[in-house]
Structure formats: C-alpha cells, structure tokens
C-alpha cells in the first residue's frame, strides 16, 4: 500500500514549516492537490455561509430596503453618506472603542493573573484549571439574568455586600448612569470571557521551556525579574494574537449589552453592534444597518491587517 517513490525525502535545509523542499514537480503538484483537498471543505463552508452573505449584505447596503419582504431600489452610496453624517454613528463608534479598550485591560489583567496562578502547583490546581472555565460555558442569557438579579435593589446581593464592606453608603443602581452602566457591563463581560483567555495564556506559559526559568532562578533572579525578563517576552507572540482576535470578538459582542441595557441608559452603552441591531429591527432601516455593518467590518479588517503586519510570527515552531 505504501507507494515507494511517491514521496522523496525532504531536504533538511528548510527550517520554515510548510515551505516545501526541493522536491520534484510531480510531488509538488500532488501535495498541492492534497492540500487543496484538505482546505476546500472548510473554506467552502466559510465561503457559502460567511462570504456570500457578506456580499449580499453589501448589496443590501446599496439599496433602500426598510425591512425584509419589501424590496428596495438601488441608491448607491446614499446610505453610507447618511450614516457617516449622523452623530449617532460616531458616538457609537467611540463607545465601541471604550468598550474594547476596557475589556482588553480588564480581561488581560484578570487572565494573566489567573494564568500565572494556575501555572503554579498547589493542591487542587488540576481541578482549578478545569473549573476556572465555569463562567465561559454558561449561556449569555443566563449570565445576564444572574447579574441583573445580583445587582438589583430587590433581592440583589451586591449592594448589601458593598455596604457591609463599607464601600457604599446607600444602594446604587449600577445601570443608572452612562458611565457606571458601561463600566458594569465591561466587568460582567470580562467575568464571562476571561477564563477562556486564561486558558490560552496558560497554554502559552506551559510552552515556555522550564529550564530557562530554572536557570534564572539558580542564578538568583527573583520572581518579578524572572517574569519580566523571561516570561513576559516569551508570552508576547501569544498575547499579540489574542489581542487581535480578542479585539475583534469583543468589538462585536452584542447579546450581553442588548439583554442588559438595550443600549441605554441614554445611549450610554450603545456600541456599534447594538446600533446596528436597533437600526435594523427596531428602526426598520435594514439597508442603513447594513451600511453601518460594512463600515464597521472595514474598520476592523483594517485594524486586524495592520496589527498582524506589525506582529512577529507567533509560531516560531
């Protein structure tokens, strides 16, 4: 069954993974065909269910469709000029940036701390590594209900707890002002997502060769020094990728904001995804919502491309 001669030994000169060696053209062609075979199902599915609908959405943004079922005429870039001249769009954009930045800071801080802890050995660490993920495996709707109840003034635990700890004098409404609503939502969203980031960082931590750390310790380096000189730099590649992907995912978070504040109060948590949903399904302006989405997508794509260009290759294999 093994076809001798089908594959020749590869040249060891190529250290770069994936770059083919100097094989015969026949082998190169076969490998290419096989590679395409491996890749086509995944890419095919993505093309059908992601790329094609995106193209349709762009088409939608160039028409004047109010809601589905009522076709609209072609209007060119009118929706785009309308959207770009609306203050609401730019305000939502700003809020999205605040949202992303807030999430990035809080999640990275929490995840880094948790990952470092889980990297140590202490009784129960194996179990901890599994159950740290508890908040990630829970559906968002449930997260929303949990926190809305806990933060409420009727039966919620957080207000009395904070008052007992002396941090609050009287009960507050966590969603009653723009800033506190945004802050609270950032915290809730981070609570929900940081375990996943923790695991990614932990994975990267375990790939850092232990000997480097041991050698440094034997040379007398303290914990902080070891972290700063060895751990942190070696984490950079993973952290960078996580930052890019995390930013994209964070930016497009919709359900947790919508189900908690619906973009309020006074628009304080109306990020771009919330604006898009509301414009499409509550304002009955489907085409305009499509235009906002395309603009958002272009912005994020630009960011992702720029960020990944300035990143070093993370899998130095």
């Amino acid at each position: 069954m093994i076809k001798r001669g089908f594959l020749r030994p590869r040249s060891k000169k190529a250290a770069d993974p994936g770059v083919g060696g100097n094989g015969l053209r026949r082998r190169g062609l076969s490998e290419r065909k096989l590679a395409l075979l491996f890749v086509t199902p995944a890419l095919g599915l993505l093309a059908l269910t992601l790329l094609w609908p995106l193209i349709l959405a762009v088409d939608l943004s160039l028409r004047d469709v109010r809601f589905i079922g009522k076709p609209g005429a072609f209007v060119g870039l009118e929706n785009y000029s309308d959207v770009l001249s609306e203050a609401r769009f730019w305000q939502s954009g700003l809020r999205s940036l605040i949202w992303v930045a807030g999430n990035a800071v809080v999640q990275t801080a929490l995840a880094l701390a948790a990952a470092l802890v889980l990297h140590q050995s202490f009784p129960g660490v194996q179990i901890a590594r599994i159950w740290v993920l508890l908040t990630w495996i829970v559906p968002t709707v449930v997260v929303v209900i949990i926190w809305r109840w806990l933060l409420s003034n009727s039966g919620g635990m957080i207000n009395p707890l904070l008052m007992q700890l002396g941090l609050l004098e009287a009960p507050v409404g966590f969603f009653s002002s723009r800033q506190s609503a945004m802050t609270t939502l950032i915290l809730i969203n981070s609570w929900r997502w940081f375990p996943f980031v923790t695991l990614m960082i932990l994975a990267a931590l375990t790939r850092i060769p232990g000997d480097l750390d041991e050698a440094a310790r034997m040379d007398g380096a303290g914990a902080w020094q070891r972290f700063r000189r060895i751990t942190w730099p070696l984490l950079q590649p993973t952290l960078s990728v996580l930052l890019v992907v995390g930013t994209l995912l964070s930016f497009n978070v919709f359900d947790i904001i919508w189900l908690t504040t619906a973009g309020g109060p006074s628009g304080g948590t109306q990020t771009l995804p919330v604006l898009i949903y509301e414009t499409a399904f509550k304002g009955y302006e489907l085409s305009r919502a499509a235009a906002i989405s395309v603009l958002t997508g272009l912005l994020l794509m630009g960011f992702a491309i720029a960020a990944s260009r300035s990143m070093t290759r993370e899998e130095g294999a």
Partner: protein, 275 residues
Amino acid sequence: MRRSLPLRLLLAVTILFFLLLIGLPFWWVISGSFKLPQEIIAREPTLVPHSFTLQHYAKLLDASAYPTYLLNSLIVGLASSVLTVLLAVPAAYAFFRMEFPFREGMYRAILLAYAFPGVIVLIPIYGLFAQLGLVDNLLALIIVNTTFALPFSIWMMRSFLATIPRDLEEAARMDGAPTPVILRRILVPLILPGIAAVGVFAFISSWTEYLFASVLILSDDKRTVPVGFAGIIGQYQIDWGLLLAGASLAILPVVIIFSLIGRSFVSGLTDGAVK
C-alpha cells in the same frame, strides 16, 4: 520548589479572590433557586437560604419544554463540534505543513471572519437557508455554529501542530508513507488532545449561541436552551424563582459534560504534544 512567604501569601490571596469571583455568583443563583419567592426578592438578601422549596424546578420541568431544549442543544452541540473537527484538522494541517498557492493570504483572511458583527449576516443567511429549506431545522444551527467556530479552531489547531517536532513526521516520510497515512497513523493520535480542545471549543460556542438560534428556529420543539430560557423570562412579568431554576438547569448539563471531558480540553491546550 519552595516559595517565599510573601509569595505564598500572594498566591493564596489570589486563589481566594478568583474562587469568590467565580464561585460566589453561582452559589447565590443556585441557592436562590431553592428559596421561596418572597425570600428571593427580599430587601435583605440571605447568603444561606432560610427556606427550601422545589416548586420552581417542578414548574420548570412540568410546564415548559426544558428537557426538549436540553436535548436540542446537545444534538446541535455535538454535531457542530464533530463537523468543526472534521473540517478544521485537515485545514490546519494543510495551512501548516503543506504548500499551496495563496496559503498565507487565505490563512490571514480566515481570522478576518471575526471582523464582522454577527447581526449583519443574520438576514442574508436567513434568506439563504429559506431557499435551501433549512429554516426551522437543527441542521441550519449546526452549519452556522460550525462556521463561527472554524476560524479560531483552525488557528488553535495550527498552533497545536506547531508543537509537534518535524522529526517524527520526517521519519515517517523517510519510510515513504504518503501524506494521508502520515496524518492518520501518526499525527492523529499525537494531536488527539488538540482535537479535544477544538471539539470542546466548538461545543461550548454552539451551546451558548443565541442570536441565530432565536431567528432560525420557529417551532418550540426545536428550540435550544438559550432561546428557551429567554422565553421563560416572559413579557410583562418575571418569575424570579423560575428564572433562577432555569439558570441553574442551563448550567447543569455543561457542568456535567465538562466534568467528564474538561480534563482533556485543558490538557489538550496546556500539555503540548511531545510529552
């Protein structure tokens, strides 16, 4: 490995912090689901319940189709994770080890899939699926969930493959084995933990997905847990006890599943392949 006292203290405090951060809300919710309604909304909330009742669970299981929702979520979750693995593993291998035109470009493009808010593909996908006759069909959810899990899964899988030394593969090639055989006989067992990681990731993403499940499914008997749960919230009124019980039950299956496979998920990511 002896730590200094301050470090040990820091470690202990941090562990306690995370324990409370994650555990306390869940304790409140689960213990709340057993409280009498008056106690749930009382002005002075109680850490340890003063009352005990199973009425909320009874109402939940009796009057709503919650078990059906759980079953649907399980079906969709398992199918999505299997499909994701089947598509992601070969693709990741190809992106990583094999040479073909536009390889780098396509790889970069895949992660850009996350640049677009899910909301905007909602309507075109609905139209597409309507034409294919897939509306109100669990298959539609499986396809959508796989689509959203694929890019990150391919990335995860590729970085997992990166931890496998080339020598093993080289050795196999030296013996003249064709690529599919290499993949199957040698690599797959090695990357089993990575596969588990991708599978679990796809399962959880599918389990928690709400937006598409709410629009693509029309009949109650095909609903998934997040959508079913949102329905119990109801309009004009809230039955907090019912909600807390529903929340607890929504958590329970994933907790059970996770206690079985959680270990392989975590080790899949943290062990690396060479051990």
